[in-house]
Symmetry: none
Amino acid sequence: MMIKGKIPLYIQTKEYIVGLIERGEYKPGSQLPTEKDLMEKLKVGRATVRAALSELEREGTVIKKHGSGTFVAVPHKTYSFEPLISLSFSLKKMGIELKNKTLLTEKTVAQGELLSGWQHGTELGHIKRVRTSGGIPIAIEDSFYTPDLFEIVSKASPTESVAHVILEGSAENVGRVLMEVIIRQPTDEERYIVEIDSDERVANMKRWIYAEDKKKPVNYVSVVVPLKFLK
Amino acid sequence: MMIKGKIPLYIQTKEYIVGLIERGEYKPGSQLPTEKDLMEKLKVGRATVRAALSELEREGTVIKKHGSGTFVAVPHKTYSFEPLISLSFSLKKMGIELKNKTLLTEKTVAQGELLSGWQHGTELGHIKRVRTSGGIPIAIEDSFYTPDLFEIVSKASPTESVAHVILEGSAENVGRVLMEVIIRQPTDEERYIVEIDSDERVANMKRWIYAEDKKKPVNYVSVVVPLKFLK
DNA sequence: AAGTGGTCTAGACCACAAC
DNA sequence: TTGTGGTCTAGACCACTTT
């Protein structure tokens, strides 16, 4: 090791491991050298190796399994669309964990503005949640699903990304995703839930996911976040 | 410390620090006890304290500042609008390395259905780029801007995210963002540029950014990526 | 100069998985 | 039982910020 003078050893260790993977010496799913191997090979302490591997795990490059070893992460196809359409995915990548609190779970029918491409009277599942971080309400989320999807989503972990469930759950193949973000004044209900003044503005993200036939959405989500949390 | 037998010390340390914050003993923005203080107070090693603080920083609860101290995070300003609407941000998260090759920079006028939202004949700046990874063309990007924005974008680094420039550059306040992702067959030109067969499908991501008046877009971008690169 | 977090080592013991 | 990663300590020196 120790080639470069200024760069921290654990960064150099990271680069060494990434190099092994990029050169194809260790394929996705295969086991990487053990921490002990890396210590001896690179002549560094174990904390240094672990710091490198920890960052790589956080970045999704490797997966550590207690008792068995460290493995090259297998990129999964369905993850590909996720960052584009998932709010929680993007925030998580930035290191921000949101906690969900479910306010309401019900069966309803499409009506009013919420038609969103659905026929009037279409049966839908509806979940209303508040997302918090450190106990502070950050976002209000209203999500609507076709009955089939509602079954699947209801059984999934409430902290799991809906986009992830849809993409991964094989219920439907995604054919089209539409997303809209607008800046507007909050409603009274929104002001109450996220505790803001009436002169503060909110970002309202709406997302429609269509199945492969592209006719009607299988999922519609509206997320409201005060602008002060976004700038 | 050492109250609970099975739970790791660094987790207990985390809980202790979170408790300090939740009980209001340390308000957002204020400086937390130093690592040394925590070591002595809790009778644990420094690595344990640092493990706790590292997780708390990753979760967005605290902020460490080299040379000055560790502070309770201020929930404001922590979140960014960018991941929601930036294509390059998302692509980067997919592991797609961003090297841009500009094929075309021109002034043009709005025409055809692709430029929906603009009046026929509106003056626009147009940039056509190919994104490559390891010399292989991965994505085709066509972006259109109002003349004012075109000036700013042209001067910005070509690798910089357009969404970033628009959000940070204060050229306009963003009032509305519309994004669409569809899966379709490639055009002949697309097949030529990214070197794919006609039976392979592509993901076409389109994004419109509207200024505060929400009438006409200030930016329209279309990115085409072969599905096989999204695995 | 003093204090803070950042990096690093050497060594120990524990918890889990596989043989 | 063996080997892996998980946790933890004690101590050292470095880099940055503030006084």
